[in-house]
């Protein structure tokens, strides 16, 4: 059968092989270029070889952070303690902490969007404002935030909240509005009050969709988080990448970038799996 037709159905093995083509092409062409550059100049820093990256990643993730070497002494330590005192660990922990605070702060946005959709007066009060607020380019607010909140944690978290919360508010609003009117009427005829309709009917129905929307917005959360960290921070994954750029330390930058992608991919996968397991009735589209 012609593989370029709409009803072509690739077999399992073929599909798997096809899905790996671009990955392998990317990896192979990188090492081809890297090999060529290293043949010309053994001290090339732009395209580190795989052994350079592995050793850089090892020293970033297993060796104690340079600032603490002096006080550590020469005592033998377990792998766990060497990981937990490493540069990668500290950066990851700092970034994760900011990430979690920001995501937690998105939940009030969900509640607000829900109430805007359900209570016409709340909606009339907030909707226009958030529609406008949503159009403000959050990064353009960054200097204002630094001036207003200082350059510590608060301004970074505020950047993420300001950047992502309006989207979540409007998304929740639209999701709540899209629940068929019949459902609300039915709940009223069964004796439900306003709050029961809002939370037990509408919120419960849109919750998996809201989780999905938060999941899709995680990339935006990370984008704002990285912007904040790169500009004003003393630790964190993005701070490290920005710092290493000054030394052209590509052997550490490349593993860091892949590490961030892997982490975000795993969070995304976990959220998706939990969402499906917890809501067996949930069907997309």
């Amino acid at each position: 059968m012609n593989p370029f037709r709409l009803h072509a159905t690739p077999g399992k093995v073929t599909a798997l092989a096809l899905s790996w083509v671009l990955f392998s092409a990317g990896i192979l062409s990188y090492f081809y270029v890297a090999g060529k550059r290293h043949a010309e100049n053994p001290d090339d820093r732009v395209t580190p070889t795989i052994s350079q990256m592995v050793s850089a990643f090892q020293s970033a993730s297993l060796e104690p952070f340079e600032e603490e070497i002096a006080e550590e002494g020469a005592t033998q330590k377990s792998i766990w303690s060497s990981i937990s005192s490493s540069m990668l660990w500290k950066d990851t922990a700092a970034t994760t902490w900011r990430f979690l605070i920001s995501v937690a702060l998105l939940f009030p946005a969900v509640v607000l969007g829900l109430h805007m959709a359900m209570f016409p007066y709340v909606g009339a009060f907030f909707l226009r404002f958030f529609q406008f607020f949503d159009k403000i380019v959050a990064l353009s607010l960054l200097p204002i935030l630094f001036i207003a909140f200082g350059i510590d944690e608060l301004s970074k978290v505020m950047l993420i909240v300001i950047g992502v919360a309006p989207t979540i508010v409007l998304d929740t609003f639209n999701l709540s509005k899209s629940v068929p009117r019949e459902q609300i009427v039915k709940a009223f005829t069964l004796g439900a009050g306003d709050l029961a309709v809002t939370y037990r009917i509408i919120f419960k129905q849109i919750w998996p969709h809201v989780l999905n929307s938060i999941r899709l917005n995680l990339k935006a959360v990370m984008l704002f988080l990285f912007a904040g960290e790169m500009i004003a921070s003393a630790d964190g994954l993005a701070y490290r990448i920005a710092l290493l750029r000054r030394n052209m330390a590509m052997d550490t930058i490349v593993p860091y970038v892949l590490w961030v992608a892997l982490l975000l991919f795993l969070v995304d996968l976990a959220l998706n799996t939990i969402n499906r397991k917890m809501h067996p009735w949930f069907q997309e589209i």
Binding site: V185, K186, A187, L190, G191, A192, A196, W281, Q283
Partner: protein, 285 residues
Amino acid sequence: MANGQIRVEDAVVDYSAGRGASHRVLNRINLEIGSGEFVSIVGKTGCGKSTLLRLILGEERPTGGRVLVNDQVRAHPDRLCGYVPQKYSLFPDKTVLANVVFGLDVSEFGPLSFFSPQRRRRMREFRATALLYLERTGLTESDAGKYPHQLSGGMQQRVAIAQALIMKPPILLMDEAFSALDPGTRKEMQSLMKDLWRSSGTTVVFVTHNTEEAVCLGSRVIVLSGNSPGEGSRVALDLPVGNLDFGSHPEDIRNLAEQIDRAMLPGLHVESTAAEMSLAYGNAT
């Protein structure tokens, strides 16, 4: 019937058609429906029969005139009227059992007593009652744990009827409840509905576009029809058919339905044709 349970007095409904223009849907409807009647409301698509139902439900208010149930003006949907719409009648996030139990639960326990031990105890009784109602509407215990999307259309409407009846509403409003079902299932549901009406004694207002269904189900058939578009529908025919025993004469149902359909044809003088039919069939009671 000086004191009908449902009284529609001179009800007029206009919908705005944009640019200040308005479109009349219902034109001075006067109706009185007594307790325990089974009223079929039939008419062509867009004649306002669903609007009339929503007036009784309290979801819409008339532009002119008033709608009373038990001498109270309808303000919003509540437990006085059970509701079974054509679509979206079940809560998709709840199992069949939870759907049926919901009304009992939510009307007895508010948000504050959600986690009370009393609720847990009462829920066991609620579930037993719900299973009883599921059985009465022709479902089995094995269906109780399923989600609505796992049920066929007919089964979903069975659950929706059980969900409404468990609240023992004085009035049950059904909006094209069987219109999406295949003919076989539809026949089954019609006889089920008739049995349930006889045993529960509730008033039923059943909206349908299918004249045969209206005649076969109702103890009284009301035809809504307008003489010209934009002028709004009136009650063209109000025919008591309750004492006509159609059980053994399905062809009689078809004949009467055909006559009613003919009376609704445009160009004909609806009122005069209707008057003739009232004479012919009204006398039979």
